[in-house]
Homo-oligomer: 425 residues x 2
């Protein structure tokens, strides 16, 4: 008897989370003897609980499916929804009733730590009630902080974006001969994987970025002032790359070093990042030109500068997940095993999703060099294979063409719930 697939996306978008969705859909349609429909949850499990889903096998044309593979962000929409820890909560029977009603045999959730928590809980509840539905997690995160996998889909593209962009900004910074410091703030609250990728921007020894600080490096202003002073001896334009989550030895975030003071004209707190704090520090301490650049969400949605290797692996993670579930796997996450460094080769495998969820893989301490100001050759060897190749994006009128889900209807903002404040001028 044929069953249906249900697939969802959860957590922050990436440039290749849709490539994994593509992999699930395309592989699902390859098994018409076992799979009838591929349904997509709209806005993850949160949407599915409100019966918001679509039939991907019916609604997507072949052309849209191909576009999907190269489209950034979450085609199905995402959510940040956590299932109750208590498996006796009424949410669980509700979810399973809805799954049974749609004749779901295979459930795929594409996401990071929190999404794997969902897969873990659903598979455990399923086992308790003797359900035959199989639950498989497909990894995704630009942060690269998932356990038990060599790396995660999404990381390679974000790393490539960071490395190319830092290389371009370093060229821009070199235009003037006056001493100046450019601080580039990169994503990564707890793990420095993405910031570490800025080291790839260097072409030759001594190139910018001259200083790289990860959350794992530790940071203090005194050492920073000393290191920056030394860097400014070697060239007038210094580029410094920092993770958003760098903190001092007491664990206080550097971005909080100006929390008290940042109020706007209306008396409200302004939040700025650590890049701005360091820009200000450099300007005032060294008396030279300083600026900060925050690459922001572009790190996770710049599909035009994505890695072809990452796109292919993300798609593979989806298709491998489908084949694994059809073969009986449940309560698993698809993982990547690096089988060789040079030339780079990898295999997909399955790991226990319970061992993955709710943990964060830190950047290896031994890969941090230069007394916490740099990243070494071991990381470069690790990261280079992940940023290889460029995808040929369909372009129209000079701009990339992306797949888009037709919205299920606007959810307009309710003005009555506004915490309205006075409007100046």
């Amino acid at each position: 008897m044929t069953k249906n697939i249900l697939v969802g996306q959860s957590g922050g978008p990436t440039a290749v989370i849709n490539a994994s969705l593509y992999g699930v859909i395309a592989e699902g349609m390859n098994h018409l003897d076992e799979i009838d429909h591929v349904y997509g949850m709209v806005h993850g499990l949160e949407g599915f609980l409100k019966d918001d889903y679509m039939d991907l096998s019916e609604e997507l044309t072949q052309k849209e499916l191909e576009l999907l593979k190269l489209t950034p962000a979450a085609y199905l929409g995402s959510c940040r929804y956590k299932l109750p820890s208590d498996l006796t909560a009424p949410t669980y029977p509700t979810v399973f009733e809805k799954l049974e009603a749609l004749n779901i045999g295979y459930f795929f959730y594409i996401g990071g730590n929190d999404s794997m928590d969902t897969v873990s809980k659903l598979s455990r509840y399923g086992a308790q009630i003797g359900s035959s539905i199989r639950f498989v997690g497909i990894p995704k995160t630009i942060d690269n902080d998932l356990f038990l996998t060599d790396h995660t889909p999404g990381y390679g593209s974000a790393a490539k974006y960071v490395a190319s962009t830092v290389r371009e900004i370093a060229l821009d910074a070199a235009a003037y001969h006056q001493p100046a410091v450019t601080v580039i703030e990169l994503m990564g609250r707890h793990a420095g994987w993405l910031t570490a990728a800025s080291v790839l921007a260097r072409k030759d020894k001594g190139d910018n970025p001259l200083l790289i600080y990860l959350p794992e490096s530790g940071f203090d202003f005194k050492s920073f002032a000393r290191d920056l002073s030394a860097a400014l001896q070697t060239q007038p334009n210094v580029v410094v790359c920092v993770s958003e989550g760098i903190c001092d030895s007491s664990g206080r975030l550097i971005c909080e070093y100006n929390d008290e003071a940042k109020l706007d004209n209306f008396g409200h707190k302004m939040l700025t990042g650590c890049g701005k704090v360091l820009e200000n520090f450099v300007h005032n301490h060294f008396g030279i030109k300083a600026r900060s650049v925050e690459l922001n969400v572009c790190q996770r949605c710049s599909a035009l500068i994505s890695s072809a290797a990452d796109i292919e692996e993300a798609s593979l993670a989806g298709s491998f997940g489908v084949r694994a579930a059809l073969s009986g796997a449940t309560g698993k996450m698809v993982a990547f095993e690096r089988t060789c460094d040079t030339p780079y080769t990898m295999d997909c495998s399955l790991v226990d999703v319970n061992q993955v969820c709710n943990r964060e893989k830190p950047f290896p301490a031994q890969w941090i060099t230069g007394h916490g100001t740099d990243v070494g050759q071991d990381f470069i060897r690790y990261a280079l294979p992940l940023i290889q190749g460029e995808a040929a994006h369909p372009m129209k009128d000079g701009l990339p063409v992306y797949a888009r889900r037709k919205p299920s209807g606007p959810q307009p903002y309710d003005a009555s719930s506004s915490s309205a404040t006075s409007v100046p001028g």
Copy 2:
């Protein structure tokens, strides 16, 4: 008798200012009967006055020359140097002695308003003393605010970068279903040309960005609150694009709406942009999620997302300038004339550089629509041809390969001149 060329770059870098440099060098080398050497000023006229220059015809390999065409930022280095208004100042004979010593017959300066001011002054002084040296300006600016030319090299690539990136950020913003506002701050202190390009990100009617504010639009918080409220009725995720230079009816910059309050922990003023001010305003006035993204210098250095049309035109501006100077032109700027809209065709021409310098071409008022919240079809027709085509960038190890001048030696930061302040913890 053969003469030499001297070429320099000045003002802010762009993704294609080096394509113009390429055009000058390549065309110069095509006229070996008239041109002996092509010299490059290092860091513009400011560097040249310190005898900092290089022989581009000798030092650049053919391979480097080809790379140069696709390399962002200013290969020769740039400067922000203004010649004295008084043509009897001693700087002028100094410049001309140095030009004569190098047997310069043709002087090219690639830049914006201020650079054209330099060309204007040097050509006027040259005429006064009966010099035979010819001075020609090659336009460059992502701001597109030069007079007497249909558009400027550099604008097309920046516009393409803005349009693609806003399209990608809009997809990212649509991932969650909760109402949220994303404010994207774009370059443009006085002219809205670049911010207007964000309209190209829309694929269909009703797409984001739903609101676009230029410096020429006028801005007030009351109207913004009303317009945003209306936009939030049509979809939960609203993207707002604003020029850095938007100001209220009294001419006060919106980014100054929090100047007084922004002090860091050390009591120093923090500068933030108008995007941050609006993010804060939205969050506090509407009580919904708001974030701001500043595309920053990526707008002028993201060569990977440059426009092939722009690269070709930038190169053409350089080569046309050389041919024009060889034919006797001086005191001119190369300009672009659009000869047809559909299909787009253009010609190079020469305009009086004195009519160009020190002026800024505003965005046409009649192209601003939606009571100052949008940009109309006339602009789209104008801008679309400028963002067409993609360059095939040479890649190595997954990253773009760019040409780089070997530095003439570090100009290390002098610690003794530092206005050092206390270093915390």
